[in-house]
């Protein structure tokens, strides 16, 4: 049985007590200790900046050409915090409760409560850094709603909140680089964790410009490398987002937890053809004002504007009157799939539903007219004024939709369909964000810890920054305090030499296959297996088939992949090949995990386990645990369980009706 090392005591005292009693490292010793950080998204950049400020010697790595390009930058809608600025009943407890319930009772109470506690500090920190959040005319911060909650606790900067938060963290990081506390390695990829006597002591990284391998030692290694949604090939992740750093750690002993918990986001631009390389999200914030519907008649090919109100099915409002269009993502996605599968889908592919702004435009237009004391009933004037308001709130998203689809969403309803967006699963970590390998930590989306089986909107940014700014600066000291007596590890230690040899052997093997099939082709095939059989709905037969198909795909990959170019130069195909090889192995584990979890919960929907109304049916008696997988050998994993204890919240059938 795994121990998450949750502190004793009442829920709201756990974190203050921990902070009051954890071990500290004195400033003189901090200066001597190097810490390696992989990834510079919200979690990595905030951790690198904060640890640099504390005086540690930090080495940060990213595969992009600048730390500011990490994929946190693309987060659109917002960041949650229990500020209760709106006086609408929010509190730390309510944010905690919403997150536990939203995660369908598969997250840890202790972690989630800490997250809710520090959420308020995050907003303060970001404002102090100069993050230009949206404001009201009185100069105070503005809020909006997100799915799965009934309060307005989401802070935002138009549809570019992730960008603004990341730039804040990036600027803090650049400041530490200028001060010499952080050394930045752009265009570098971590390809191995080096462990000595069971502890993480460094990494092997590849310089993606020269192709050279480098050995870096440190007292701790923090993996802040993001999620693995690209295992599905098509997702809202960046093209380079990958599981490689986490997967190498997994193969070196770190447990991988709940890998099958993936988030399918309900509002993305639908696939347009075979050439598609990625999918684009339309922020959940659009569900604040937009209404989702399909025609009441199957295969209705009429222009949406010609379908009268009475012949439209606003199915979320119909099925979930209490939360309406703002149900959590997993619920909204499944409802869209249900309608499309039943033949009500729209657009050429019939794999889409409408997200309609006509009502919102009229509503805002009427409000604007009221402000101007105009009693006009001229519809076109109202529409004109309403569009201006919608443009201010969501303009960049509407523009993006138009560029991609060629349709004007102010005129015609947007077509949307669910797409892979986020992975709740990840490296298993304890309360201190440490994996089961001492000295190896995981932060942000790369770990599994806070979102259970479904993440609520605007909570990923919160978690990434919570981990980096406010959790790791305390918890890592608790480990490093006992390490100060050990001298720094030389990069000429045999463990480093062996790890480097292993990495270069693997690269040479890949290069020498000289097969016929491109990396991209394999990736697409993997994605199709995963989407068809381990996607929004799963069943035992499909998952068993998928495992066999993936094993076969792996054989073909390692005998037929074609990688042009050389090792010692910039070689994007080689970079991709390494990542796809790891995705293939991960895909198998995801199917295995989905197969063993004989229940439905959150984003994990097993067709065999549903209520009469088609909602996810949990099995708390048998599956109220974190599934943490230990890598044993090829195609072989051992399951370790961490029981989840609910002392405060009573798990019930989740209802948004």
């Amino acid at each position: 049985m795994l121990d998450a090392k949750i502190p004793e005591g009442p829920l709201e005292q756990k974190w203050p007590d921990y902070k009051g009693h954890c071990k500290l490292v004195n400033p003189a010793n901090k200066r001597k200790m190097e810490i390696i950080i992989i990834g510079t998204g919200l979690a990595g950049a905030s951790a690198a900046a904060s640890l640099g400020e504390l005086g540690y010697k930090v080495k940060a790595f990213c595969y992009q050409d600048s730390p500011r390009r990490a994929h946190s930058i693309a987060a659109q809608g917002g960041i949650n915090a229990a500020k209760n600025y709106q006086n609408d009943g929010d509190s730390v407890f309510r944010l905690f409760y919403d997150t536990i319930k939203g995660g369908d009772y598969r997250a840890r109470e202790g972690n989630v409560h800490r997250l809710a506690e520090v959420s308020v500090n995050i907003i303060d920190q970001c404002v102090a850094q100069g993050v230009p959040f949206a404001r009201e005319y009185g100069g105070l911060l503005s809020n909006r709603s997100f799915g799965g909650t009934q309060v307005q606790r989401t802070f935002y900067a138009a549809g570019q909140t992730g960008q603004q938060l990341l730039i804040g963290a990036y600027q803090a990081l650049e400041r530490q680089i200028a001060l010499g506390n952080v050394k930045m390695y752009n265009r570098h990829e971590m390809l191995e964790v080096v462990t000595i006597d069971g502890k993480a002591r460094g990494i092997i990284a590849r310089n993606l410009v020269s192709g050279e391998l480098e050995r870096h030692s440190g007292y701790g290694v923090l993996l802040c490398s993001g999620g693995y949604g690209n295992v599905f090939y098509l997702s809202t992740n960046a093209m380079g987002s990958n599981v490689t750093a986490a997967w190498k750690a997994h193969k070196k002993g770190a447990f991988f937890a709940n890998p099958c918990f993936t988030q399918i986001h309900p509002t993305c631009i639908p696939v347009s053809g075979e050439h598609q390389s990625k999918l684009t999200l339309m922020s959940e914030s659009l569900r604040n004002d937009g209404r989702i519907w399909v025609p009441k008649k199957q295969n209705d090919n009429r222009n949406p504007k010609e379908i009268p109100e009475a012949e439209r099915d606003y199915y979320l409002e119909r099925r979930y009157p209490a939360f309406g269009n703002l149900v959590p993502r997993d619920v909204a996605s499944r409802a869209a799939k249900e309608r499309c599968d039943a033949g009500y889908g729209v657009g050429t592919s019939k794999q889409a539903v409408y997200l309609d702004y006509a009502d919102a435009i009229m509503r805002y237009g009427t409000i604007e007219a009221g402000k101007k004391n105009s009693s006009t009933s001229d519809t076109s004037a109202l529409i004109e004024m309403g569009r201006e308001v919608v443009k201010e709130k969501y303009g960049n998203l509407f523009d993006m939709y138009e560029k991609i689809t060629g349709e004007n969403p102010y005129e015609v309803p947007m077509r949307i369909y669910p797409a892979v967006h986020y992975t709740m699963g990840g490296l298993w970590v304890d309360y201190e964000l440490q994996t089961n390998v001492p000295g190896l930590y995981s932060l942000g989306e790369a770990n599994f810890s806070d979102h259970g089986a479904n993440r609520l909107g605007a909570s990923a940014l919160m978690q990434g920054l919570a981990d980096g700014y406010f959790v790791i600066p305390y918890t890592i000291g608790n480990y490093l305090a006992d390490e100060i007596r050990n001298p720094p590890t030389s990069v000429d230690h045999p463990a480093f030499l062996a790890a480097e040899k292993e990495v270069s052997g693997r690269i040479n093997t890949l290069m020498n296959i000289k097969g016929k099939t491109s990396v991209e082709t394999f990736h697409k095939r993997l994605g199709k297996i995963m989407w068809d059989k381990c996607g929004m709905a799963r069943n035992a037969q499909g998952l068993s088939e998928a495992i066999k198909e993936i094993q076969q795909l792996k054989k073909e990959f390692w005998s037929d992949v074609r990688i042009p170019g050389e090792v010692n130069e910039m070689n994007n195909e080689l970079d991709k090949a390494g990542r796809v090889a790891d995705f293939i192995e991960l895909g198998e584990l995801m199917c295995l995990d989905a197969l063993q979890r004989e229940e439905s919960c959150g984003g994990h929907f097993r067709e065999e386990h549903q209520t009469e109304e088609g909602e996810a049916l949990r099995d708390d008696a048998n599956f109220m645990y974190v599934a943490a997988w230990e890598y044993k050998a090829e195609h072989e994993w051992q399951l370790h369980k961490e029981e989840l204890q609910y002392d405060v919240v009573k798990p019930t059938q989740r209802s948004y009706k």
Partner: protein, 256 residues
């Protein structure tokens, strides 16, 4: 929206590495859908090249949503191609017609050396930020977010400047390869907020000094940068930087 397929000629800059000489090579692509993005069209070409045993074209790209700022192609003489306020990754092939020839180059600027093919080194931008593009506040020092009310107009202007994605199109568009639009966007973002006040003078002076040191050219107020900017960063930011710089130069205590 009408969909159509097209055949195109591409003249693309190929350069093995920073030291090698580069040259244009011509490629043909067939049956390109008008629904593809420009980068998906390059993906198609690259798959063809791999099949033929040739080296695919290296280019920077990541989010493909127009926000990370990685993509950087100079298309038919324009940074990011023909569409206004659009990054290459959001440029779609319906911007082109059957039989067209499209010329694709990397950003051209001394401060952005070519790494390979269409990939350039933009680390100079990071160093300009290191020179002062931040507010010096350590984690844990902050007061309550609403303790600092900020006039909405300034907050909105600050946000508009902070929307810069550091892609470098402004530099590529400028005949002097000036980085003034980039630098002024960062200076404006922070100067428009009260939190940025204490370091206002040193920030303007140090960031401009670093910009010059990196080898970017001077600004002659042509405005090509603003026209090319995918995030519509306004030229008024440059005016603000000039004002900040001038006032800082006249009033800063030189002995420090």
């Amino acid at each position: 929206m009408e969909h159509y397929n097209m055949n195109l000629s591409l003249k693309i800059w190929r350069q093995k590495n920073v030291k090698a000489n580069g040259a244009f090579e011509t490629y043909q692509v067939k049956d390109i859908s008008s629904e593809m993005s420009f980068l998906e069209m390059i993906d198609v070409l690259n798959e063809d090249l791999i099949r033929e045993g040739k080296d695919p074209i290296a280019f920077d790209h990541d989010c493909r949503e127009g926000i990370c700022g990685s993509c950087s192609m100079y298309i038919n003489g324009k940074p990011h191609g023909p569409w206004k306020a659009t990054t290459v990754c959001q440029l779609h092939m319906r911007a082109f017609k059957e039989g067209e020839t499209i010329v694709v180059e990397p950003w051209r600027a001394n401060a952005f050396p070519v790494v390979k093919d269409l990939v350039v080194d933009r680390s100079a931008f990071d160093r300009i930020v290191q020179a002062g593009g931040y507010i010096s506040v350590n984690t844990g020092n902050a007061v309550d977010g609403n303790a600092i009310p900020i006039d909405k107009d300034n907050a909105d202007k600050s946000f508009a400047a902070a929307a810069c994605i550091a892609c470098g199109a402004c530099v590529a568009a400028c005949k002097n390869s000036s980085a003034m639009l980039f630098t002024s966007a960062k200076v404006s973002h922070l100067a428009l907020l009260p939190q940025g006040g204490p370091e206002r003078k040193t920030r303007a002076i140090n960031m401009v000094a670093q910009m010059d040191k990196e080898g970017f050219g001077a600004c002659t107020n042509i405005g090509a940068c603003e026209a090319a900017c995918p995030k519509e960063i306004r030229l008024t930011n440059i005016a603000r930087l000039n004002a900040e710089y001038l006032s800082a130069s006249l009033t800063i205590d030189k002995e420090n």
